[in-house]
């Protein structure tokens, strides 16, 4: 999974391999490991893309799914 912008600065990493059957489960795992990251990922304006498509709510994942957390986009 991928973190962008301030999220990767906060987590201290940008790209990791984490297996999880659902996006909701992935969120719980990440929050258990790093509470402030878990809060930031659930924060206002943070979107999730699965295989480069924005999704809302929960969704199933498989080991090949590219999960990306996108903080509010600033434009170029």
């Amino acid at each position: 999974m991928l973190l962008f912008g301030r999220l990767s600065d906060l987590a201290g990493w940008r790209d990791r391999q984490i297996d999880s059957p659902f996006l909701s489960v992935l969120r719980v795992k990440l929050a258990e490991e790093d509470e402030s990251l878990g809060e930031a990922l659930a924060g206002p304006g943070v979107q999730v893309a699965l295989d480069q498509v924005i999704v809302r709510g929960d969704a199933p994942l498989n080991s090949a799914t590219e999960v990306a957390f996108l903080p509010p986009m600033s434009g170029g």
Partner: protein
């Protein structure tokens, strides 16, 4: 029709040379080049992060809409990513249309989109450290003009 990202400095003139060739029915080519400002030393470097693949695809969707809305013959967008020094081009947009009003408006519209909503995350490195930048209220106001 092209949307590209580059980590390397680029020359907007070379892009215009290529874009304006062989256009016997086009009539009008508008371009915009955004250049990183030094802000009199307040900004040492600009850093832009993109999500490769996703970022070009999202920009492409808006560019295709602009093509239909303004009746463009063609467009080209090149956006720099990574660390950018003051004075270096950040973004280049070119639009081609039969008449100049369409070319200008489409270029203006695409810049408003790119500066406020395109999938980039921007960090400014100043003399006192780095900070992530959110879009300015002015940028959102610019974009509202097109609704």
């Amino acid at each position: 029709m092209s949307v590209r990202l580059t980590f390397e400095p680029f020359d907007p003139g070379a892009l215009l040379t290529e874009f304006s060739k062989g256009r016997a029915e086009t009539g009008a080519v508008a371009t915009f080049t955004g250049i990183a400002r030094a802000e009199a030393g307040a900004t040492v470097a600009l850093e832009l992060e993109a999500y490769p693949g996703f970022t070009e695809a999202e920009i492409g969707k808006t560019a295709d809409k602009a093509k239909a809305r303004f009746g463009l013959d063609d467009f080209a967008i090149l956006h720099r990513v990574g660390k950018i020094a003051p004075g270096e081009p950040v973004v280049f947009v070119a639009t081609a249309a039969r008449h100049r009003r369409a070319a200008f408006e489409a270029c203006d519209f695409l810049m408003d989109y790119l500066k406020s909503k395109a999938p980039f995350w921007k960090k400014e490195h100043g003399p006192d450290g780095a900070r992530w930048v959110e879009p300015r209220a002015e940028d959102h106001a610019d974009l509202k003009r097109w609704e």
